[in-house]
Amino acid sequence: MSQEFETVIGLEVHLQLSTKTKIFCGCVNVFGSAPNTNVCPVCLGLPGTLPVLNQQALLYAIKVGLALNAQINPFIKFDRKNYYYPDLPKGYQISQYDLPVAKDGFVMIKTDKNEKRIGIKRAHLEEDAGKLVHDDRGNCSLVDYNRTGTPLIEIVTEPDLRSPQEAYDYLNTLKLILQYLNVSDCDMEKGSLRCDANVSIRPIGQTALGTKTELKNMNSFRAVKTGLEYEVCRHKQVILSGGRIIQETLLWNDEKAMTIAMRSKEQAHDYRYFSDPDLVPFTINYKVIDQVRAELPELPQIKLERFIKQYGLSEYDAGVLVIDQAVAVFFEHCCQHYEQSKKVANWLNGAVLKEMNERKMGISELKLTPVNLVALIKAVENGVVSNLAGKEVLKAMLDSGKTPAQVIQDKGLVQVSDDSALMAIVEEIINQNPTVVEQIKQGKPSAAGFLVGQAMKKSGGKANPKKLSELIIRRISNA
């Protein structure tokens, strides 16, 4: 039996908010402290303690909601999600059930054909749990409550994603938006961004959803994609062999590249949600919403379109710039000093990006100012140094923090355009490459590029390549 299936995926993203303090107490909200040092009676859930909502966390959640084109609920409340686990000190997690901060939003993603709207069902605030550390030697488990009470926003999509690739694209798009908002470091390795996936398949044309499984424990966007691909494949195999998918929660094992059952629907928790009587419901004033909206940064998609329009960049160039908000800002600073925006984009997306990757640094960590980068680009454009030497100058600038002029002077990299100085090199190269010279004579002028390259090398990168090319052509045609 051959049958075509459609994949249906919904994602839940948990994002730790980088507020100064935790969501319901005054403990600092930082990663990497010694175990159980950032704790107090409130986040330890000691008897008698009570939660007080961190207003910053609420503002961040509103910001996320607005950036995801969602409606902000004017009236919100917190609910208790009851379950037992040693990392959950109160025996319940304070979350939001029926009145989340934000609902009914969307994110636009680019597919290979066109744009697609991915619905955001809701985004709600909740507290993070602690962390279990399993000690093999001691035959015991230890609990670190530092993470307990870290503010989280959970972003839940509608089941609008139709392939693991779309899920992957959505995650990248979402992450970029969240990075622009500056409400989280969005670092999956540190666990500040986590993703669970719900997946089902159904015969094409069927409207009812198939039985879903939930995937947890994916530590990268790549793992989300691979895990979903595995699971879609497994669903197909089960159904095509006449079996039925069981609704269950599965753990993705990245090393073995397979999913492992964690608990079935029958074993699923009954969380017994009810509104938390310790926290009074909140009314969110529309003025607060307007204020947050007014302070929203330009979001990546808008910035991309503006870069294309305002600076005449290609979609590709604009896209690469926009992926890093700091680079995009740097780009615009450069453009204030230099009207050749396309050249600036080339430098940033080429040589500068390469240096950032090699040095594992963000642009703000590099010893580079927009003024210095523009000065360097101008030096290359005006023929003061060659393009090749320009890249050497950039490296030296980043190493020393000096201006391009200082570097060029220190290294003696000023481009040689003087005919008499270059002619000696040209003569030498022509004599060494008679075959190539013959090709050029027989009407293959493109072969001259090879000779220019050889001559550049000979000059130590200092020669003006344009000048060299002229001299070589003139020398051969005069011969």
Partner: protein, 475 residues
């Protein structure tokens, strides 16, 4: 002079005229505890506090064993919290300490405040100072008994469904449950968060006002605490009820009300009329559902509030000898099986049930709706009257063990007190007579939210014109 038998305001007068020092008062009260507590068993533990306290409010006080106090063991009379030493003070404890109060010790209670007799305590029962074969009421039975037996000048209790007022009634003292949000709950080990409120148990109405002056006020660590100005409650102690409208619900004098209690309360109504109050009948049609509603809302919250007692971080930890499920789940089950008493288990099961998927709408949601109706009943009644008067409890103190195996009849002893908790309004119990067996009878008044002053005024007037508060048990 027997300093221990005095009220706080009498002691403060002695401080002022230098006729007694806080050390002398403390010494006398401690010797009283030494003399009678082996029979009353009001305290589960005396405090470690060394000083006698100083300043104008250096009054020895008993604290219910559910208010966190730094440097002390606090257990809610439960095995599961044995050895728990809170590293912080509850909001009310801070205020007591700031005002120079001397904490005598921690008073017995029904485990986690689950009960109306102080029999559900891991330390055994407290006995009623008026008749040692009777219960003191509960759950703040230790606090009420300590005040009635002169083992404390005054005390703090907590009231979720009547736990201050019912024992006040049984022990012949004054007990006030303030408006929800009037007193900080920070550091009060929660039973039902939307109902719990800390309040005073005192020898007379004046002391009640004085203790409210100390404990009332906003606390930014409690989101349900309300930031409204706190009056000087002693200014409400006016011996005049002329024109004050007192509503008496026709539902109050119904089946199950002891005839002696009924007579005493009716006599009190007559007395208030004579003093110039206007008494009118009101109707609270939904109050017959109050007990049922309460046992849904309160147990639901309790089942969640008590989930933190799991053996992981503090208190009792019971490990299993053989692994049955997983080591962690075994630990949870054994710790809670051993650490919690029968009534706690019963309420956790009830609460878990009413919140369970499939039952939530029929129980918890319905319960919340009825709660709103009861609140509306009271709001409506308060349009026509300043206070609502009922008996505090349907009976006088019952015998130890009498209702221990009949939880339902025990639950009904809170039938008059529960509506005030569900509606969040203030409510007070004052002595209004004695049964022929010599047991105290209490009168309850409910007031408008944040109008504790009206309650104090009516009760003060009543007290000034009746002898009940001057009587002492024979110990």
């Amino acid at each position: 002079m027997k300093l221990h038998s005095l009220t706080a305001h009498q002691i403060l007068d002695l401080y002022k005229s230098k006729q007694a020092s806080s050390e002398e008062v403390l010494k006398d009260v401690l010797s009283r505890i030494g003399a009678v507590d082996s029979r009353v068993r009001a305290y589960v533990r005396l405090s470690n506090q060394k000083s006698a306290g100083e300043g104008s409010a250096a009054i020895p006080i008993a604290i219910k064993d559910n208010m966190c106090t730094q440097g002390e063991e606090i257990t809610c009379s439960s095995k599961i919290l044995k050895g728990f030493h809170p590293p912080y003070d509850a909001g009310v404890i801070e205020r007591i300490k700031q005002n120079g109060g001397r904490i005598l010790g921690f008073a017995n209670m029904d485990e986690f405040a689950f009960g109306s007799s102080t029999e559900n305590s891991c330390y055994g029962p407290t006995y009623n100072p008026w008749d040692l074969t009777c219960v003191p009421g509960g759950s703040s039975g230790g606090s009420a008994a300590s005040v009635a037996a002169d083992e404390a000048v005054w005390a703090l209790g907590s009231d979720t469904g009547g736990s201050i007022r019912q024992p006040a009634s049984f022990c012949g003292v004054v007990g006030l449950k303030p408006t929800y949000g009037r007193v900080s709950r920070y550091g009060l080990i929660a039973f039902a968060s939307s109902l719990d409120q800390i309040g005073p148990l005192t020898k007379d109405v004046t002391d009640c006002a004085l203790l409210m002056n100390i404990i009332a006020g906003y606390d930014d660590r409690d989101s349900t605490s309300v930031n409204v100005p706190v009056p000087d409650y002693t200014k409400a102690l006016i011996n005049d009820v002329h024109g004050i409208k007192i509503g008496v619900p026709k539902e109050a004098f119904a089946e199950g009300l002891d005839s002696q209690v009924s007579q005493a309360v009716e006599a009190a109504i007559e007395q208030l009329k004579k003093l110039g109050a206007v008494v009118k009948e009101v109707s609270l049609p939904h109050t017959p559902y109050a007990v049922a509603t309460y046992y849904i809302v309160a147990t639901a919250e309790a089942s969640s509030n008590l989930a933190r007692f799991d053996g992981v971080r503090y208190g009792l930890r019971q490990l299993s000898a053989n692994v049955r499920k997983t080591p962690v789940i075994d630990m949870y089950e054994e710790t809670r099986a051993k650490g919690l008493g029968d009534e706690a288990k019963r309420r956790i099961m009830l609460g878990t049930y009413v919140l369970s998927s499939g039952y939530y709408d029929a129980y918890y949601l319905r319960g919340q709706k009825v709660r709103t109706l009861i609140k509306q009943d009271l709001d409506g009644a308060f349009k026509d009257c300043d206070v609502i008067l009922t008996p505090t409890a349907p009976t006088t103190a019952f015998k130890v063990g009498e209702k221990a195996s009949d939880p339902l009849s025990m639950y009904l002893s809170d039938v008059y007190t529960i509506p005030a908790n569900l509606a969040g309004v203030p409510s007070i119990s004052v002595p209004c007579g004695f049964s022929k067996e010599g047991l105290p009878i209490g009168l309850q008044l409910m007031g408008k939210a944040f109008d504790e002053e009206m309650l104090l005024r009516v009760c003060f007037s009543y007290e000034q014109n009746t002898p009940w508060h001057t009587k002492k048990p024979n110990l």
